[in-house]
C-alpha cells in the first residue's frame, strides 16, 4: 500500500469513527424535527420525513425565561470567578508569598469534592441567609465549580510570564496592583478567555445546584426547563430534543469560535 492510499484509508476510518461518535447528536437534531406522531414508529425514521418546527416553536413559547436566566447566571458566574481567581493567581505566580503552596493544594483538593455534598451544605446555608431559590444563590453555588480551576489555570499561565517584565514594571514605579492590571492581565488574555469559556459552560450546564438550591425559585435555568419537560407525563420528546438543541448552542459556539482555547482548557483541565 503506498502512502497516499494509506492516508485515504485512515481518513475514511476516521470519518466513520467520528460519524459513530456524533450519531447521538444527529439523533437529537433528527428527533427535534420529527412530528410527535411519528416518534413512536418502529423502526424510527432515520431522517426527518415531513419535518416540523413545532418543537422549536414550543421552545420559544416556553423556554425563553429559562434561557435568559441561564445567560444571567452564566455571566454572573464568569464575572465572580474572574474577579476572585485572577488576582489570587497573580500573587501565587509572581509574588510567591509564604503559604502559597498550601493554597494551590487546597485548590486541587477542592475540585474533588462531590457536588451533592456541596449542594446539601449550600441548601442549609442559603436557607439561613434567605437566598435559597434566588439567582444570586445559584451564581454563588455555580462559581464553586470554576474558582479552583480558574486559580490553577491562571497560576500555571502567569508563572510563565518572564520575571524581566515584572522587574521592568517595578523600575517604572508600578506597584503590585498596577503590575497586575497593566502588565500581567493583558498578557494573560488567552487564559482569561479559557477560564471564562469553561466557567460559562459549566454554569450553563449545571443541573445539580439548580435542582437543589434553586428548586423552587421563580427564575430557573434551562437545565430545569428541560427537566420539567422530561418530568411531565406527556413525554413530548420532539420538544425535549428541540430544547436540548438550543441548550447545546453555547457548546457549539465555543467549539467553532474558540477551538484552540478549548483544547488548551481540556488538557490543562486535567486538574479539573
Amino acid at each position: 500500500m503506498n502512502v497516499r492510499t494509506k492516508r485515504t484509508v485512515n481518513t475514511t476510518i476516521g470519518v466513520i469513527l467520528t460519524a459513530i461518535m456524533l450519531f447521538p447528536l444527529y439523533w437529537m437534531i433528527n428527533v427535534s424535527l420529527t412530528q410527535p406522531v411519528r416518534l413512536r414508529k418502529d423502526p424510527p425514521d432515520l431522517i426527518p420525513i415531513d419535518p416540523t418546527f413545532d418543537g422549536y416553536a414550543r421552545v420559544l413559547q416556553d423556554q425563553l425565561p429559562y434561557l435568559g436566566t441561564s445567560l444571567i447566571v452564566g455571566l454572573g458566574t464568569v464575572a465572580l470567578t474572574l474577579a476572585l481567581s485572577a488576582p489570587a493567581a497573580f500573587a501565587l505566580a509572581k509574588l510567591r508569598p509564604r503559604g502559597g503552596g498550601a493554597v494551590d493544594f487546597v485548590m486541587l483538593i477542592a475540585q474533588m469534592i462531590p457536588g451533592i455534598i456541596m449542594a446539601m451544605g449550600f441548601y442549609l446555608i442559603f436557607f439561613n441567609w434567605g437566598i435559597l431559590d434566588s439567582v444570586l444563590g445559584l451564581i454563588l453555588a455555580d462559581s464553586t465549580l470554576a474558582v479552583p480551576f480558574g486559580v490553577l489555570i491562571f497560576t500555571a499561565f502567569m508563572s510563565g510570564i518572564p520575571e524581566e517584565l515584572m522587574s521592568a514594571a517595578k523600575i517604572d514605579g508600578a506597584g503590585a496592583w498596577r503590575s497586575f492590571r497593566s502588565v500581567v492581565l493583558p498578557i494573560s488574555r488567552n487564559s482569561v478567555v479559557t477560564v471564562s469559556l469553561f466557567t460559562f459552560l459549566w454554569s450553563w450546564s449545571d443541573f445539580l445546584f439548580a435542582s437543589t438550591v434553586n428548586r423552587g425559585g421563580e427564575l430557573q435555568p434551562i437545565t430545569i426547563g428541560i427537566y420539567r419537560y422530561i418530568g411531565n407525563n406527556t413525554q413530548d420528546w420532539n420538544a425535549i430534543m428541540a430544547t436540548a438543541v438550543v441548550a447545546s448552542i453555547p457548546a457549539a459556539v465555543l467549539l467553532v469560535v474558540a477551538q484552540r482555547y478549548v483544547a488548551a482548557g481540556v488538557t490543562a483541565g486535567a486538574v479539573k
Binding site: 509574588l95 477542592a110 490553577l152 506597584g175
Partner: protein, 338 residues
C-alpha cells in the same frame, strides 16, 4: 499547551520557594549600607507578604465561606436529626453516629456500594481503552485528522443533562434507535433503562460516551511528548507496529495513564446528572450509586431526609479523598521523573 506541561506545573505552582519573589533592594548590593538597611529590608519583606496575601485574601475568604463552611454544615448535619421542623425552629437534636448506622444497615447500602464500584471502574476502564486507541489512531496524522479530533470533543462540551436526555430516548425500549438497530441483527427488544438487569449497562454506555473525548485528548497530549527519535530507533530495529505500541508507546505513557485513570476515577465517583436523568437510580436500586442515593434521600421528592443524605455524602467524600491523595502523590512523582 499539553497535559505534561501544565499538569505538573499546576501541581506545585508558585510558593515553593517563598523568598524567590522578593526582589533585592538596590541598596543591598552596597556593602557599606547593608547593615543600616536591614530593618528597612525586613519591613519591606513583610510588606511584600502583606501585599501578596492581599491579592489572595478574597479567594481565601471565599474558600472558607463557600467550601469549608458547607462541608462543615454537611458534617454537622450528618450527626443530627434534621427534620422539616428544624427549618422552622433552627434546632436539630444531636444523635451521634445514628445516621451512619442507619445508612450502613440500610438494604440499599451494599447494592449502592456495588453499583458505585461497577459504574466507576466500568466507565474509566472502557473510556480509557477507547480513548487511548483513538489517540493512537489520530496520531497517525492524516488529512482531516485535526478536524475530526476536534469534532470528537463535542460530547464533552454538551450539558450533561442534554447528553443524558439523548441517550434516554435512544435507549427507549419501544421507540429507541438502539433497539431498532439491534432488531436488524435479530436481537429482540432490550429494556435498557426499565429492567434491573440492564439499567446499569444503559447508564454506563452514556457515561462512557461522554468520557471518551477527555481520555482521547489527554492521551493524545501524552503521545506528543514521546520523542520521535524513540520511534525511529524502534523502526530501525525492525519492530512492527504492534511491538512498537506494547514495548515503547504504552510503557512511555504510564505516567500520563496513571493520572488520567485516577482523575477519571475521582470524577466518575461524583457523576450524578447522567444517572438521575436516565433512571433516577432505578428500577429499584439497580443503578443507585452513592451520589444518587444521597440526592434521592435529600431532594428526591417526598419528605427530605437531609441527615442520612449527608451521611451517605460523607462516605462518598472519604472514598473520593483516598483516591484524591493517591492522585496528587502520583502527579508529584510524575513531575519528579520529568
Amino acid at each position: 499547551m499539553t497535559a505534561m506541561q501544565t499538569v505538573p506545573r499546576t501541581g506545585t505552582g508558585g510558593g515553593t520557594d517563598p523568598r524567590r519573589g522578593v526582589a533585592p533592594t538596590p541598596g543591598a548590593t552596597r556593602p557599606a549600607e547593608r547593615r543600616a538597611e536591614r530593618p528597612a529590608q525586613r519591613s519591606q519583606r513583610l510588606r511584600h507578604q502583606f501585599v501578596a496575601w492581599g491579592f489572595i485574601a478574597p479567594v481565601a475568604i471565599y474558600m472558607i465561606v463557600f467550601y469549608a463552611y458547607p462541608l462543615f454544615r454537611n458534617l454537622d448535619l450528618s450527626f443530627r436529626d434534621y427534620t422539616l421542623a428544624s427549618f422552622i425552629t433552627g434546632e436539630a437534636p444531636f444523635v451521634g453516629i445514628a445516621n451512619y448506622v442507619e445508612v450502613l444497615r440500610s438494604p440499599t447500602f451494599w447494592p449502592a456500594l456495588g453499583s458505585t464500584a461497577v459504574f466507576t471502574l466500568g466507565s474509566i476502564a472502557v473510556q480509557f481503552a477507547l480513548g487511548l486507541a483513538l489517540a493512537v489512531f489520530f496520531y497517525r496524522r492524516f488529512p482531516l485528522s485535526t478536524t475530526l479530533r476536534a469534532l470528537f470533543l463535542v460530547p464533552w462540551l454538551l450539558p450533561l443533562l442534554v447528553s443524558a436526555s439523548i441517550w434516554a430516548w435512544m435507549l427507549n425500549s419501544d421507540s429507541g434507535v438502539v433497539n431498532a438497530a439491534l432488531a436488524v441483527f435479530g436481537i429482540s427488544q432490550v429494556n435498557w433503562l426499565t429492567s434491573p438487569q440492564t439499567s446499569m449497562i444503559g447508564v454506563l454506555i452514556a457515561n462512557i460516551w461522554i468520557g471518551i473525548p477527555f481520555n482521547l485528548v489527554i492521551m493524545y497530549a501524552g503521545l506528543q511528548n514521546i520523542p520521535d527519535e524513540v520511534y525511529e530507533a524502534s523502526s530501525l530495529d525492525g519492530a512492527n507496529a504492534w511491538q512498537t505500541f506494547w514495548r515503547i508507546t504504552f510503557p512511555m505513557l504510564r505516567p500520563v495513564s496513571a493520572i488520567t485513570l485516577l482523575l477519571g476515577l475521582i470524577y466518575t465517583l461524583k457523576v450524578f446528572d447522567i444517572i438521575w436523568i436516565m433512571t433516577r437510580g432505578g428500577p429499584g436500586d439497580s443503578s443507585t450509586t452513592f451520589a444518587i442515593w444521597s440526592y434521592r434521600l435529600g431532594f428526591g421528592g417526598g419528605s427530605p431526609d437531609l441527615s442520612p443524605a449527608a451521611a451517605v455524602g460523607n462516605l462518598l467524600i472519604v472514598i473520593a479523598f483516598v483516591f484524591g491523595i493517591i492522585y496528587i502523590r502520583t502527579q508529584r512523582r510524575t513531575e519528579d521523573e520529568l
